[in-house]
């Protein structure tokens, strides 16, 4: 249960050594650099310090990094994938030696022309895509007119006759013809084709017959008009198809070219990382201040890393001074958590809520034990626990994981152990697959009592943590009055009700009664103590006390979700088995079907319930437990380090 001790670091460096020191900081990853500007330059001690002018090449570097990013992003889809399934699950970073790394990076002038080439290629690809879309649209429009063998450009009205190329809803054609016949003027409809419920046709009438035009417009036609000189549809279609073919060929040529360039993608990735690291070294300069000959870098380091940081800096240069001091009240100290190997995975839960602030308790180890128990009960099937354990073990063994990924799988593994213990105790192995006498509702009342009891224990623990936290910060009054009296009240209530339920000696009950009464009075007093006059104290005290009691009861009932989730897992698992067994007696395929149904059913049930168990165990921590004492809001300690995206330097640099 700890938030790491932090020290404020100040490096004072002669300007000739600045770049070495910054490289060292980046490679060691021990120090977070804090911006030394504005308010941070305290006027009386730093009146000679100024922001340093940034070197010009920072702009060049920024451009190069974005160009390299573009190259890598553009080429990635065209790079040959050598990787198997495993690599795709956990993409590996390319191992490379420091020497290779630097050699690659020194060629970056060459990469600029590749950037230009790719840029041209991409623009042409976009043009081609747009052009293709246009052609495809034209082809779609012309296709219905394929059977019309006159040049489309000639299909226009003459002096005496009007000619329309139109399409309309096929079903309404008889109505149109009937209406035109009623009109008693000559007309002709030449059907060309029918496509997707629409009829494509030529309509001919006398050019002065505006009435016919009005009639035909009532039927929502789409009218077609092709520019003069357009050849017949079939010929035009062939032309368009040919153009389309050309474009497709050009596209595949460009893609082939991209594949050729992408063969070197590893080099570009390395260069990208190299330039980024360099850019980061320069951007640190935005945060430092100095005089003409001296540069000052401020920041934070973990107390336990102080000596190492000091040593590393002094190995590269004698022209630097490192000083450490304890954080001052009111300073925004970054937070780094320290937990044992067993509780570290539970930091995920703490982080999900919020990191503790620097002066707060780290709740991780407290929540670990409860989370462990809750998850086991909520999932509660040893079979599922075993599958979970095997999967997370396999993941830990075979996948290349980031720290957070590793922690998550470890958390799953620990939770799986809890599940196996609880499931084995209640004989649940894939429901009743192994023990036919497993009865998932059998222990209903017992599990209900256990859930509620766990809730009471968890809540009392929360109050005790709150008490400890108050006492630690010197607020004895709050510790004794608020949490102390409340604890007495709960203890009294428990003694009293347990003595009834378990028929303990009468004295226990009596003692409980007194504790109960005393605790209640003390709570009412303490809750109202902020008020000035006696009636207000009484009213506020009673009101708050009533709310606290009902709140506590509500909190305890919330732990029934452990029972409900366990029941849901067990119930559905039993049902899966039951349904699967119905298929067993089908000849030949029965056994196969049964196994298939069981596999699918159990996998789904397991996935849903692992998810549910995780969420609800977390919720019990966040709402019922953290709600009592925890605030969070800490800022993560992010040391300045060589974070590469694509490559991994395999020969670790020695001292400095």
């Amino acid at each position: 249960m700890a938030v790491a001790e932090m020290l404020k670091v100040r490096l004072v460096i002669h300007k000739s050594a600045v770049s070495e020191v910054i490289s060292t900081l980046q490679n060691s990853g021990l120090m977070e650099v804090e911006r030394l500007a504005g308010d941070n330059i305290e006027s009386e001690t730093h009146e000679h310090l100024d922001m340093l002018p940034l070197p010009d090449n920072i702009n060049i570097l920024t451009r190069l990094v974005s160009e390299m990013n573009y190259i890598v992003d553009f080429l990635s889809p065209y790079a040959v994938r050598r990787e198997g399934l495993l690599d795709r699950l956990s993409p590996s970073r390319l191992p490379i030696s420091r020497k290779q790394f630097e050699a690659v990076a020194h060629n970056y002038r060459r990469y600029e022309h590749i950037y230009d080439d790719l840029f041209v290629m991409e623009n042409r690809m976009i043009e081609i895509r747009n052009e293709k879309a246009r052609l495809e649209h034209d082809i779609e429009e012309l296709e219905p007119w394929r059977e019309l063998d006159i040049p489309l450009g000639d299909a226009a009205s003459t002096g005496r006759a009007m000619l329309l190329m139109a399409s309309m809803d096929e079903k309404r054609l008889p109505d149109l013809i009937a209406e035109l016949k009623k009109h008693r003027e000559p007309f002709h409809i030449e059907k060309i084709s029918a496509f997707a419920g629409r009829l494509y046709f030529l309509f001919v009438a006398i050019s002065t017959d505006t009435e016919a035009l009005t009639i035909i417009h009532k039927y929502d036609p789409v009218l077609w008009d092709f520019p003069p000189g357009t050849p017949p549809a079939s010929i035009r279609l062939d032309q368009l198809r040919e153009e389309l073919n050309h474009l497709e060929q050009e596209m595949s040529e460009i893609e082939k070219q991209a594949v050729v360039i992408a063969a070197d993608i590893d080099t570009y990735k390395a260069a990208c990382d190299y330039l980024r690291l360099e850019l980061e070294r320069y951007t640190v300069l935005e945060k430092v201040a100095g005089t003409e000959s001296v540069t000052v870098i401020d920041g934070w380091a973990r107390a336990r890393d102080a000596d190492e940081l000091n040593r590393r800096v002094h190995t590269v240069t004698p022209l630097a001074e490192v000083t450490f001091r304890n954080p001052l009240p009111g300073e925004d100290v970054p937070v780094s958590l320290v937990n044992s190997r067993l509780t570290r995975p539970f930091e995920i839960i703490t982080r999900l809520y919020s990191l503790p602030s620097f002066r707060e308790l780290d709740p991780t180890s407290s929540l670990a034990i409860f989370f462990f128990i809750f998850f086991g009960m909520a999932l509660g099937d040893a079979g599922y626990g075993t599958v979970m354990a095997l999967l997370s073990l396999a993941g830990l063994r075979f996948l290349r994981l980031s720290d957070s990924g590793r922690n998550f799988l470890q958390l799953l593994l620990i939770c799986a152990v809890s599940t196996i213990i609880y499931g084995a105790y209640s004989k649940a192995w894939f429901g009743n697959l192994i023990f036919p006498d497993y009865d998932f509702v059998g222990g209903f009342i017992t599990v209900m009592i256990v859930s509620l009891a766990l809730g009471v224990v968890h809540l009392i623990y929360a109050i005790m943590v709150e008490l400890y936290d108050n006492a630690r910060h010197g607020d004895r009054a709050a510790a004794i009055l608020d949490q102390g009296s409340w604890l007495l009240f709960i203890a009294g209530t428990l003694l009293f009700s347990l003595s009834r339920a378990l028929s303990l000696p009468a004295a226990v009950g009596v003692a409980g009664n007194y504790l109960f009464a005393f605790g209640a009075l003390a709570s009412i007093y303490s809750m109202g103590r902020m008020q000035k006059n006696i009636p207000a104290r009484l009213a506020v005290g009673l009101g708050t006390f009533y709310m606290s009691v009902t709140g506590f009861l509500g909190d305890v009932l919330s732990y029934l979700r452990l029972l409900a989730l366990g029941l849901a897992t067990g119930g559905i698992a039993v049902v899966v088995n039951q349904i699967a067994r119905l298929f067993r007696d089908i000849p030949y395929v029965g056994l196969l079907l049964m196994i298939l149904i069981m596999a699918v059913g159990h996998i789904m049930n397991m996935a849903i319930n692992i998810f549910g168990a995780f969420i609800h165990s977390t919720r019990l921590q966040f709402v019922e437990f953290f709600g009592k004492f925890y605030e969070g809001g800490g800022r993560e300690f992010r040391p300045f380090a060589a974070g590469t995206k694509y490559i991994e330097i395999i020969d670790k640099e020695g001292a400095g």
Partner: protein, 157 residues
């Protein structure tokens, strides 16, 4: 054999699985629609939205669980037991908490989860909190499930 008792029990099981299932499907759909909108802009958040979309799905499972408890109780798989109309009515009533609360809480939870999609659209690092808000709604579905199971336990055939 008195068929009315069996019919009432069937009605209870059907309501539990049916109404809670309807609620979950609506809830999941509400989240899905909002999530699809977010994914058009940021495909990388698919995993996170999937978690939120799964949240209102549990009510359907609770309903199904109670339906199965009824099915086992009256022996609907295998040989039917004798159920008096009174017992049948009791079973039907016992199913109502999970059926009704399942129906409405899943929809409400879907709306809360949809709001959380909006939260992770802006601040993906706050997924934890985005899960907790809808998880609050589920408390009442859990309590209803407990009530239904307790009531069912109370009916002896």
């Amino acid at each position: 054999m008195d068929i009315l008792g069996i019919v009432l029990s069937f009605a209870g099981a059907a309501l539990a699985a049916g109404l809670a299932g309807i609620g979950s499907s609506i809830g999941v759909s509400i989240v899905g629609q909002v999530a699809a909108g977010l994914i058009t802009e940021e495909p990388g958040k698919f995993g996170q939205t999937l978690i939120l979309q799964a949240l209102p799905g549990t009510q359907g499972i609770y309903g199904l669980l109670v339906a199965f408890l009824v099915i086992f109780k009256i022996g609907a798989i295998g040989t039917l037991k004798a159920v008096t109309p009174g017992q049948g009515m009791a079973i039907l009533l016992a199913c109502l908490p999970v059926a009704l609360v399942g129906l409405f809480s899943a929809i409400a939870q879907g709306q809360a989860a949809a709001a959380s999609i909006g939260l992770i659209a802006r601040r993906p690092e706050e997924l934890g909190k985005g899960i907790i808000y809808p998880a609050f709604v589920e408390t009442y579905a859990v309590l209803a499930l407990i009530a239904s199971i307790l009531l069912l336990q109370g009916v002896t055939l």
